[in-house]
Amino acid sequence: MTWTIARKEIASNLLSYKFFIVLLLMVLLVATSLFIMYRDFDQSIADYQIIRPKPGEPIALVAPNPLSIFAKGLENAITRSFEISVIRIDVRTGQASGNVIYSFFTAPDFLYVVRVVLSLVALLFGFDQVSREREQGTLKLLLGSSVSRAKVLAGKWIGNFLSLAVPFFFVTLLGTAVLLLDPVVHFSAGQFARLGLILVLSLFYLGFFLSLGMLVSALTRRAATSIIILLFVWAVFVFIIPNLGTLAARQFVSVPSVRALTEKQEQTWTREVLLGISKGGNWAEHMQALSREEDQMEQDYRLKFERLVRLSRDINRISPAASFLDASSEIAGTGIGEEIRLKSEIVRYKDSIIDQIIANLSTGKRNVEYPAFVDRPRSLAEIFASGALFDTVWLIFLNILLFALAYVSFIRYDVR
């Protein structure tokens, strides 16, 4: 019986204006987003070929990640060029910093489309499931034929989820297949698995909004009321909580601004160089001490910053949109955790280079070749252990919770 209702839902969806608009939006946006981000990736690969360090150069540069087509995240920060010089790391940024308009708007990647637009679409599938059928009188007929309410609700959920998920899956797979025609976009088996995980997370995320729509629909008498409530709830979940949450976290964790930190480092550096000149003598030791002092400051900042990230994540998790974004970008390897890890690895690399410079100074060797920087991205197991698993379980839990709530309110729904 559940399946019959699901089929009925799919059939009625297929014929509706809503479905037409939604399908148009989905195809248009997923295709545009994949194409635009693919071109962006293509460009960054071309740049990478030009700027990749020659053997022996002490430069840490990470190759562009093809998963950034789907989850841009902090890719721009991760693929900066970190050039190690005697006492500092010279950071050079890529293209995006030359065009200030980038910083006005969020990158329109696949995650953005799912997180912002498709969540709205999922709500539109759910918002009138109960109240519209009541308004039309079909709900009475349906329940009159002695189907249990649980089965009706489950059938509705499955039918609508399929009408949403099947075209979504199809468009995404088609888009990905087209991407793969370009030999530049090369996914390893592990990256395919990660992409699959992101898709599964997307489905959980969309399922949440579908259940939310059905819940509100079962709580209201009219579809018009239901849509208004849902639009506001959507805005709160997708925009307000995540964006206000990071600001609120800053109230509790005092992290110095990056500007303050840079100024402090400049002061230390210039002071030490000055003292080094006036003292003369052992430069090597001085250099090492200076490098360690800067590391200390850097680490101090990073610890505080990590605390801020943890707290703002915990606050933001109230919203599944933030959970979804965090987990998916970490899985794609473009998240905040990945950037923090990369930077600590670069600091280690810098220290090893400086040790080598000092050793060379004492032996008088010149024009040495330095070992290349090897980036070891975290494995999926590590990513899951450091939060993504929690986010995934949380999304599943929210799905179940909302469906249960929708069920409870549907049981008590007055169908007259």
Binding site: L25, V91, A235, L274, E298
Partner: protein, 476 residues
């Protein structure tokens, strides 16, 4: 009659659930945002004065001319407007090793966000069924049978809707301003009231656009269920998609060379290549001088050279000619390489500017981008302010290098003629400090005229379209 119609529109809106819900959510979000941003502002202000104190301490003890440029930098103090609008002032700082990537993942919430996303959504919610809803209820038929002209009805609907939207927005904003101004640490300057007024005016236009979109779509649909779908579709495209695509589109249409490559090229040109060229030119000019003064061909030790320069006037002229030739070689090398560097960076800059302005133009198709540019430029938190900061900094630099540095160096020399002018610590607490002042309101208004014009154009076109659509609406 018009007045009755407007009052009827306002009354039906105000009594509706959606109005109440909109008002509550707007009020809460504006108040929470204002209080969070204000406390953020106060903390940043405290940090700023602490940073200045640290710089003062440094200037008193370790300041020296060689590296003073790394200490005295163009910094902008937090400005009161940041309690409402953050704009580009979020510190992401990708140019330094330590950055703060949180705002990249989760853009900050501020008044711009509230107007562009929340208020526009409210405008659609209030307007999507303003015509077709009344048709469904059957009241539209009755109204028209009373001999009312359609143009009066559409005008009344627009006026009534605009008033019901603007009043809750103004009340919420006043509450937010009250929260900000009640903080003793915030000194809201008089010119910012003018800017705020203009931003509110821009918000009116912005909201009117979305109300008109709702009105237009509502007059094109027979049922409100399909009207909300189309309205949301248009809203998603205009607000969530077009602006975000614009920088990427412009980067394909107007590409720029790799920044990292140019930076490395510049370093190579002015470092290794310059040295090579300098040495080559030096050798060339030297051989010319040697031909003229054969005495120089002799290989002598440094001490020997010094002795002969002192004793032999002929050798001295030859030696000086040689030094001049060397200087000429290096000057030439520097000039050639600097010209190459300047050509490279000028080309990069020109291409980047072309790309930025293209991205800006594309994004201006979206009212969201128009409002964002307008609000950030008026509040001194946008691109205009970045340029303004750069100008102020240039003015400061010229004062520092033209007046202050030579004066201080002369003092140092007078005290100790053999002192290393660059690496001797001196007390620089009297240095003219960089002082940021906001751009005058008049100058801030100029760059916002294009976005204003685009929004006004939208309003006119949409109103005309809504009018035509309503005239042709089938009320049955």
């Amino acid at each position: 009659m018009m007045k009755t119609l407007v009052i009827k529109e306002i009354r039906t809106s105000i009594l509706s659930f959606r109005f109440l819900a909109s008002f509550v959510i707007l009020f809460v979000v504006v108040s929470v945002t204002a209080s969070v941003l204000t406390s953020n502002y106060l903390r940043r202000q405290a940090e700023y004065s602490q940073r200045q104190a640290e710089i003062d301490r440094y200037l008193g003890t370790y300041a020296h001319f060689n590296r003073i440029g790394a200490i005295l930098q163009a910094t902008q103090p937090p400005i009161p407007f940041q309690t409402l609008i953050r704009g580009l002032t979020a510190e992401i700082n990708l140019e330094e090793f330590d950055d703060d990537p949180l705002p990249v993942m989760f853009p900050l919430i501020d008044l711009t966000f509230i107007v562009t996303i929340l208020v526009s959504l409210i405008a659609l919610i209030l307007s999507y069924d303003v015509v077709c809803g009344e048709k469904e209820d059957g009241t539209l038929k009755q109204m028209l049978s009373n001999g009312l002209s359609r143009s009066k009805i559409v005008l009344a609907k627009f006026t009534g809707g605009a008033v019901t939207l603007i009043v809750p927005f103004l009340i919420s904003l006043s509450a937010g301003m009250l929260i900000i101004l009640l903080q003793p640490g915030v000194n809201w300057p008089a010119s910012d009231w003018g800017a705020l007024g203009l931003i509110v005016l821009g918000a009116f236009f912005y909201v009117a656009i979305f109300y008109l979109i709702g009105l237009l779509i509502s007059s094109l649909h027979a049922s409100s269920a399909s009207s909300i779908m189309t309205s949301l579709f248009i809203w998603v495209l205009l607000v969530l998609i077009v602006p975000n695509l614009s920088p990427y589109l412009s980067s394909f249409l107007s590409p720029t060379p790799s920044r990292i490559m140019i930076a490395r090229e510049v370093r190579r040109l002015t470092d290794v290549d310059r040295d090579d060229l300098g040495r080559k030119l030096e050798a060339k000019y030297r051989s010319e001088v040697v031909k003229q003064y054969p005495a120089l061909a002799e290989q002598l030790s440094e001490a020997e050279v010094k002795r002969r320069v002192a004793s032999d006037p002929e050798y001295r002229t030859a030696y000086e000619a040689m030094r001049a030739a060397e200087q000429k070689a290096w000057d030439e090398a520097n000039r050639i390489q600097d010209a190459k560097r300047n050509a490279l960076t000028a080309d990069l800059q020109q291409k980047e500017e072309a790309q930025t302005s293209l991205a800006r133009s594309i994004s201006m198709a979206s009212p969201l981008a128009d409002f964002a540019y307008l609000a950030t430029d008026l509040s001194s938190t946008g691109t205009r302010n970045t340029a303004h900061l750069g100008q102020l900094w240039q003015a400061w630099e010229s004062v520092f290098y033209r007046d202050y540095e030579p004066k201080k160096m002369a003092e140092l020399k007078a005290k100790d003629p053999t002192a290393d002018l660059w690496n001797t610590p001196i007390d620089m607490t009297d240095v003219p400090r960089f002082h940021y002042t906001e751009e005058a309101l008049g100058a801030r208004i100029k760059p916002i005229l294009p976005p204003f014009a685009v929004m006004l154009g939208y309003c006119i076109v949409l109103f005309a379209a809504a009018y035509v659509a309503f005239i042709g609406y089938d009320v049955r």
